[in-house]
Amino acid sequence: MMKGLTNWRLFALMTALLVFLSGCGREEISTLIPAGKVAQDQFNLLILSTIVMTFIILVVSVIYVLAIVKFRRSKLGDDMIPEQVEGSAKLEFIWTAVPIVLLLILAVPTVYSTFDLADVTAMDSVNEEGEQNNLTVNVTAKLYWWEFEYPEQEVVTAQELVVPTDERVYFNLISADIKHSFWIPSVGGKLDVNPENVNKFYLEFDKESSELEDGVFYGKCAELCGPSHALMDFKVKSVDREEFDQWIAAMQEEPEPAADALAQEGEETFANSCIGCHAVSGSGSAGAVGPNLATFGDRNRVAGFMEHNEENLKKWIQDPQEYKPGNLMPDGETNNGGEPFSEQELDALAAYLMSLSVEE
């Protein structure tokens, strides 16, 4: 038995070591590396509760270890009949009262923070010119992709949310089909995206995403929503206010026609096969059938999760079901009126889509 115990200690030690070595996960997605006020508040609660809980675990462990070491039958002899103690009112009082006090320590910041994080009263406040004081983004979750509408700016994009840093950004969340959940782990906790009501909350982005290794924060769907729930990712670009204003302005402009020949060819194919569902202009409002592609060339991923290159894009256009089962995009053959896209057409489409950009 003692040998078993030592093994167990060794395992515990190894586990602890591993956790320490691999750090806290990736900056783009870990809740342990908060990159905004909301995530920071939540991280602080995590630390506070961990301290309190460690204290409790320590108390229990000390009594526990002493008890199982001191009162082993092998030590006390086989015939020993212990005193049959009934209990102790004093002790019962202590282990009722002390936990209540500890819980109060946790309860106060919990209640404060619950109300603080749900405070969206400033969402609709306007300045003297009737412009909103804060940026609002309407998020619509659809089967395995995300649509982001900036209602005041009359701009719409998809899959890659662009937000200004160091200010409060308010979100209206609604689902177009079934329940999803909107989660950017390193920036703040999740909020469900229900089909029947608009959920509102705010986030703050303290860090520019260009400082991150991958250049974007990772966003996730956190509520099981069907086969491709695991692939319903989105990305977040946080930029300073000036850059954000430029981005908005660029989005509001009509897209320029494709420049080189291959891309022009792709534009034609696109107009025949894809434009029914996908817009390529960033100016507009929510409610499209497929993701808006105005920023496609600027994006970090194809379909939210595949590496951003023409190869993957072509594979995706040909057979979306293969890569994201259950999504609603028809395959290449259907889009092309019954016959598969030729290699040439795919190259052209890819070149065209990659040329869609609003960033310099």
Partner: protein
């Protein structure tokens, strides 16, 4: 009724179990079928961990993965953990209160067969077009969108097995209220009986909301009702409320009996009365009561608003207090005792740190704003496996070793038991401890795959290795069971030597009438009191030896449940245009059920009497006849 024990053929043996109304045999049926479903659920768990072993694995497809996680959760909760606990309740509780059977032996059998056919029906979905795939929580918008019949298997199967559980709960409540032996006051009841009592009350109050939710779901999917259809003015959040009004108490339905088993173990193997028995009883009742006040903590991120979230956060935190009381009382029970580290005790000792770890993360999640981060991430997966595996499953494994001699008259090998324990315990922590960090590192739950670039590879690998350890532990347990039954070394009344309650005062396994004479209970731990006073018989009696009235066995419960099983197929295919026979099947199935109810109602079955002479005869032969006629 002829002589008590005779040689019998295999057919008679099977028939005996199919018709039995004896609580001890029903316990064995629960143990075997619960054990079977535990292995099925475990197999599903292994497939999940193989799929998540490395980034971008393609062992399982996306849709199949969702079916497997759904069936893993549903099977483990409804078809493994609950029946296994019901097995111990059935086997032990009537003995602990000095009763000859439960209050309604016929219903006891009906409850088992309903559960059994519900479970079989649910699992047949694998072979009949696909299993349910909306998670064990079956959230309405996804469930309604799910194609095929998987979700219908879920709602119909759980409706049937839910009836069974509800019947079992009512039966235990009535039994404990009415059938305690003279002197067995409420505050002298063993703690396992107390937890059975409170858990049964929770079953009575918690299963109706689930049944309502499932009915709505069945009507929405099969008969085009619109309870959850948003476009038609329905509301999916109602499902979440109904599910969790059931779902949270369900957690306590599982953990309280496990607490009961551990309470017995701590007292027995420390040779010491439970410290703070009264406090433990009231903590049990309080946990049961608060269990109904906290369901919305599963819904912090739904958008209920800060007031609801704050209220439910505080209510949830309060539950930590009675749970803490229990932990400290158990610690003080072993403190000053004489601890013998048998297999049951080693599980109980391992339970304390495991469950405390699960408990503290529970309090962390009660803090609503922090839960916005933890909810639906791997942190919560780690948390509920810490309480359910670290609490309930360790309790079931401990109970299996503790009560095996009482149920089967043989002792599981302590040596193999220790091997199982170490594999399972190490594997358990290896699998789930690391998942806390996966959650904090941003990994959502219920994802069938993950990208290599998110920093989750190593921890997932470790977790999968841990699962393998647990599987080895379970396999060793199976070997242990087989070897023990093959060797068939019989044991006496009190095989652990330190039994304290009535069940250890009678033979192992007990005769089918349990007590030839109803015992008189003189205090808490009544057998211990008699032992300490040198009473060789282990009990004093409340009545002279006389004829004993016993119920007859019956095949009707099985037929009645089978009717429901048939009817469920009719309901399942009701809307399919290609299956016009569905309506006929529905009617035939219900006909079988109602017909057998009619037979049961019209045919008088007054049971039989064992005469005094037969009891004396039986006592001479050791008094552990299994009561075959």
């Amino acid at each position: 009724m002829s002589s008590l024990a005779q040689k019998k053929g295999f057919g008679a043996f099977i028939w005996d179990y199919l018709t039995t109304v004896d609580h001890k045999k029903i316990a064995i049926l629960y143990l075997i079928s619960g054990g079977f479903f535990f292995l099925v659920g475990g197999l599903e768990a292994m497939m999940i961990r193989i799929q998540l072993m490395k980034a971008g694995n393609d062992f399982l497809s996306a849709g199949l993965y969702n079916e497997i996680i759904t069936m893993h959760g549903t099977t483990m909760i409804f078809l493994a953990a609950m029946p296994l606990l019901l097995a111990f309740m059935n086997a032990v509780m009537p003995l602990q209160i000095g009763a000859r059977d439960v209050a309604f032996p016929f219903l006891n059998s009906l409850g088992f067969w309903l559960f059994f056919f519900g479970g079989i029906f649910l699992n047949l979905s694998w072979f009949m077009g696909g299993a349910p795939d909306a998670g064990w929580t079956n959230y309405a918008s996804l469930a309604l969108a799910s194609e095929g019949h998987g979700i219908d298997f879920y709602s119909l199967g759980l409706t049937i097995s839910g009836f069974g559980t509800l019947i079992a709960g009512i039966n235990f409540l009535v039994t404990i209220i009415n059938m305690r032996a003279p002197g067995m006051t409420y505050m002298r009841m063993p703690l396992f009986t107390w937890t059975t009592f409170v858990a049964s009350a929770l079953i009575l109050l918690a299963f109706p909301p689930l049944t309502i939710g499932l009915f709505f779901m069945v009507f929405d999917r099969l008969f085009d009702a619109n309870f959850f259809v948003v476009e038609m003015g329905g509301n999916t959040i109602i499902w979440e409320h109904l599910f969790w009004i059931f779902g949270h108490p369900e957690v306590y339905i599982l953990i309280l009996p496990a607490f009961g088993i551990f309470s017995e173990i701590f007292a027995i193997f420390s040779r010491k009365r439970l410290f703070g028995y009264t406090a433990l009883v009231f903590a049990t009742i309080l946990i049961g009561f608060y269990g109904f006040m906290v369901w919305a903590h599963h819904m912090f991120t739904v958008g209920l608003g800060p007031t609801a979230n704050a209220v439910f956060a505080l209510a949830t935190m309060i539950i930590a207090v009675p749970t803490g009381i229990k932990i400290f009382n158990w610690l003080l029970t072993i403190w000053g005792g004489s601890i013998s580290f048998t297999v049951p005790m080693i599980y109980a000792v391992a339970f304390i740190p495991s469950f405390v770890a699960g408990g503290v993360t529970g309090v962390m999640q009660a803090m609503a704003p922090l839960d916005y981060q933890l909810h639906d991430s791997y942190f919560i997966v780690a948390h509920f496996h810490y309480v359910i595996v670290g609490g309930v499953v360790l309790g079931i494994l401990a109970g299996t070793h503790l009560y095996w001699p009482k149920m089967f008259g043989t002792m599981l090998s302590e040596k193999l038991g220790m091997i199982t324990f170490w594999f399972f315990f190490i594997g358990f922590h290896l699998t789930f401890f690391i998942q806390h960090f996966l959650g904090l590192m941003g990994m959502p739950r219920r994802v069938y795959t993950f990208g290599a670039d998110q920093g989750w590879d190593l921890f997932n690998m470790i977790s999968s290795v841990g699962a393998l350890f647990m599987a080895i532990g379970v396999l060793v347990l199976l070997v242990n069971v087989v070897l023990t039954q093959v060797k068939n070394v019989r044991v006496g009344n009190d095989p652990w030597g330190d039994g304290r309650t009535l069940e250890w005062a009678i033979p192992s396994p007990p005769p089918f009438y349990n007590f030839a004479q109803t015992p008189l209970v003189r205090g808490l731990d009544t057998y211990w009191i008699e032992k300490m006073e040198g009473n060789k018989e282990g009990m004093v009696y409340a009545e002279p030896l006389g004829d004993v009235h016993m119920p007859n066995g019956s095949i009707i419960p099985l037929i009645m449940s089978f009717g429901m099983f048939v009817a469920a197929f009719g309901a399942l295919y009701f809307l399919d245009d290609t299956k016009p026979w569905a309506l006929a099947v529905l009617i035939i199935g219900l006909g079988i059920t109602f017909g057998s109810m009619l037979v049961r109602s019209l045919k008088d079955d007054l049971g039989f009497h064992i005469t005094k002479e037969e009891l004396i005869e039986d006592a001479k032969r050791g008094g552990n006849t299994d009561g075959l006629k």
